[in-house]
């Protein structure tokens, strides 16, 4: 944990879907290099919180500052900020009409004006990193779920982001594929990437997380380092949750 | 000078499309002859009858050479050349019909091409049900097929073309050639105030008449 300004500063945000209060006055600071794991029961607002960070959801109250830029400021160039934030979805969301390689090169070429050759070289390097370079000319539909998710991580990395957001990256995978994706994520963490991960994989939280955040009903109920968190949970709701899933 | 004439080429023998897909017929030859005399080149474009007057006002073409009878109504919205052909309305019925006059057809359907002088003649007789067709041929076919009792159309079309066709020769006949109070003539229609074109056409028509070329055309297309 660096002793500087947080790279993500979330202050008192609230979010409504109609009557439903999906986020209820949430504040959270994330520092550069930190790995924050968000857990909580279904519907507790984990995804919504993650998605407000790159403004896939706008907030109704409060402020979010990412890398010094206030997202709730109307003049903020959200597309620029999003380039700093890699996002990995539960359902992979690879571009179906592009090969693996072109999934990785599309954004760098179009958005950063990187020459095709350089973009492809970089893409292949990333694909090697996630262990899937030999599939570069396949289309997403030809890959297994685990392979698709690894490509999705590589695609996010291709934009060279400062922060990576993961929304249940392994929930849509068959059990035998979960490991290969988690491995990639563990390696990424070791390299020092700032990561915010929504997951139900408690093993991963314990091994990688610097801090675990427990949400329920749109609120952050408890926060702490994983050891403390799993061994002596304070809040009864957290205890109940841990009982259920462990 | 090129003058563009609109024509509804479904009115044989006055104007129609021949086997070479050329627009041809009595009025076509007439205008070609007039052009030669007066020094203009006629160009013919095919236009559907029920919109033919609409295009004249916008200037899609300069004139209409399509067996347009000169009527007072039409004179209000367009100018006409000198008459170039005299017509009467013919009443066509089936061979076995005893009808001799339109008046006998009260309550019956009588066909004509939409908004021709034939239509006006039908509508002039109270009680006769007017049925209008896009083309006179469709009306004659419907008469032949028994859907209507009679067709009213210009006599050259009736006498000299439709009834010459072997199909209709056996089944149809002309019951009457109607003499209206006013004599009916074909004229070339031009947009109002388009005097240059009108003069040129008139000059041609006069020359054709003077040389007697119209008699030749009569013999060629209509007979007698």
């Amino acid at each position: 944990m660096a002793d500087t300004d947080p790279i993500i500063r979330i202050r008192n945000i609230s979010k409504f879907f109609g009557q439903l209060r999906a986020l209820d006055n949430v504040s959270l600071d994330i520092f550069s290099g930190e790995k924050v794991v968000i857990i909580g029961p279904s519907g507790s607002g984990k995804s919504t919180l993650l998605r407000t960070i790159n403004q896939l959801e706008t907030v109704d109250a409060g402020s979010i500052v990412v890398d010094g830029q206030d997202l709730t400021d109307k003049t903020a160039n959200i597309n620029k900020i999003r380039m700093e934030l890699g996002m990995v979805f539960q359902s992979f969301n690879l571009f179906h009409h592009k090969t693996v390689l072109h999934n990785l090169t599309l954004a760098p070429i179009k958005l950063k004006n990187i020459p095709r050759e350089e973009a492809e070289k970089n893409a292949i390097r990333l694909l090697e990193k996630v262990g899937i370079a030999e599939k570069r000319n396949c289309y997403p539909a030809q890959l297994s779920g685990g392979q698709q998710q690894r490509v999705a991580i590589a695609r996010a990395l291709a934009m060279n982001p400062k922060i990576m957001l993961f929304d249940e990256p392994t929930s849509a995978l068959d059990p035998e594929m979960i490991g290969e994706v988690l491995d990639v994520m563990v390696n990424l963490a070791k390299e020092g990437m700032t990561m915010v991960v929504v997951t139900h994989e408690m093993g991963f939280a314990r091994e990688v997380g610097d801090r675990v955040v427990f949400m329920d009903e749109g609120k952050i109920i408890e926060t702490g380092p994983p050891e403390h968190f799993f061994q002596s949970p304070e809040h009864p709701r957290l205890r109940k949750f841990l009982d259920q899933i462990l | 000078k090129v003058i563009v004439f609109a024509t509804d080429a479904t009115w044989p023998p006055m104007e129609f499309v021949d086997a070479n897909k050329d627009i041809t017929g009595y009025s076509i030859d007439y205008m070609k002859a007039a052009g030669k005399e007066a020094g203009f080149t006629p160009k013919f474009v095919a236009v559907a009858w029920d919109g033919i007057f609409a295009g004249l006002n916008v200037g899609k073409y300069d004139a209409i050479s399509s067996s347009v009878s000169i009527t007072d109504e039409r004179k209000k919205v367009m100018d006409f050349s000198e008459p170039y052909f005299r017509v009467r309305q013919a009443l066509i019925v089936r061979k076995n019909s005893k009808v001799k006059d339109l008046k006998e057809l009260v309550g019956k359907q009588v066909g004509s091409q939409i908004s021709t002088t034939g239509t006006f003649a039908v509508k002039a007789v109270k009680g006769v049900i007017s049925k209008t067709y896009d083309e006179v041929g469709l009306a004659i076919e419907d008469l032949h097929n028994g859907r209507i009792e009679a067709v009213v159309c210009d006599d050259p079309v009736a006498a000299n073309y439709a009834l010459q066709n072997e199909k209709y020769a056996k089944s149809l006949k002309i019951a009457k050639v109607m003499e209206s109070a006013e004599v009916e003539y074909y004229g070339i229609a031009v947009k109002k105030e388009n005097n240059g074109t009108l003069e040129l056409i008139n000059k041609g028509i006069q020359a054709v008449k003077a040389k007697g070329l119209d008699k030749e055309l009569q013999a060629k297309w209509i007979g007698q």
């Binding site: 359902s91 571009f95 179009k110 539909a141 | 129609f16 076919e141």
Partner: protein, 261 residues
């Protein structure tokens, strides 16, 4: 056990034979070879008037194709714009596009043709063919708009979100991510509209555009051979649309999924 909601939509284009529908597949064969056989029989054994007719009609077929292709090209452009308008978040644009669709689909094509050709013809001067093409495209643009809209809406929301999260803006997302995928989905219905449009070009014959049907009417009005002429015209249209529907059918079958070679 809740019931699923079933919606049925029968396109106007043509009956598209696919492998799934064996009945239609053999019907296609019967119809196609029947039509070709009838054509040959008539030409060989009754050359008068059928061979004469066959010689009279070809430039009409050409015009029919010209009108069809030009109209579909224009309609695609109009349709894309309309489709984007229909899903626009800008209320005004949305309303304009929706109203265009609603009005065009509420008025018979023939009335629209008359309107654009004669009524508006009083104010602007356009050549016949162009007027016909404009009218057809104007009308089919509305249908195409709905095809584009449905195609775009069929693309998973995740695709947009993934694109946004990489830093693409709305327009880039539409053109780099959504439309390329939507195009594959809409290819079959566009093929369908194409056939429907080809058939509907027969209406321009009313405007004295010398398409296939007009040529037939001209032939008939001079020869009075209505039965023979319309038999021939119908057979020719049938052969053309059957070939096209076969092509669309093959296309549909190839559209198994994205990115499979």
């Amino acid at each position: 056990m809740p019931e699923k909601k079933v919606t049925i939509d029968i396109g106007d284009g043509a009956a598209i034979p696919t492998k799934k529908d064996r009945g239609l597949l053999s019907a296609w064969r019967l119809a196609f070879f029947g039509a070709v056989g009838a054509l040959l029989y008539l030409i060989l054994f009754h050359p008068d008037p059928y061979l004469r007719l066959l010689k009279f009609l070809p430039d009409g077929i050409l015009i029919t194709f010209q009108v069809t292709f030009s109209s579909i090209a224009l309609a695609l452009v109009v349709g894309l714009i309309t489709g984007l308008g229909r899903i626009s978040r800008n209320a005004t644009i949305n309303l304009i596009a929706s109203t265009y669709v609603e009005v065009v689909r509420g008025i018979p094509l023939l009335v629209q043709l008359f309107y654009i050709y004669y009524a508006l013809g009083q104010f602007v001067r356009v050549p016949d063919m162009l007027a016909a093409i404009l009218a057809m495209s104007f009308c089919y643009g509305a249908y195409m708009g709905e095809v584009f809209r449905a195609g775009i809406e069929s693309i998973d929301r995740g695709q947009r979100e993934a694109s946004f999260s990489l830093g693409f803006n709305r327009t880039q997302t539409m053109f780099y991510v959504i439309l390329p995928q939507a195009l594959r989905t809409i290819l079959p219905p566009v093929g369908n509209e194409f056939i429907a449009l080809l058939k509907d070009t027969s209406l321009v014959s009313i405007l004295a555009v010398s398409d296939l049907l007009r040529r037939g009417r001209e032939f008939a009005s001079e020869s009075f051979l209505y039965f023979e002429t319309y038999t021939m015209v119908a057979i020719i249209y049938l052969i053309i649309t059957l070939i096209l529907s076969k092509i669309v059918g093959i296309m549909e079958e190839r559209m198994g999924g994205h990115g499979r070679h």
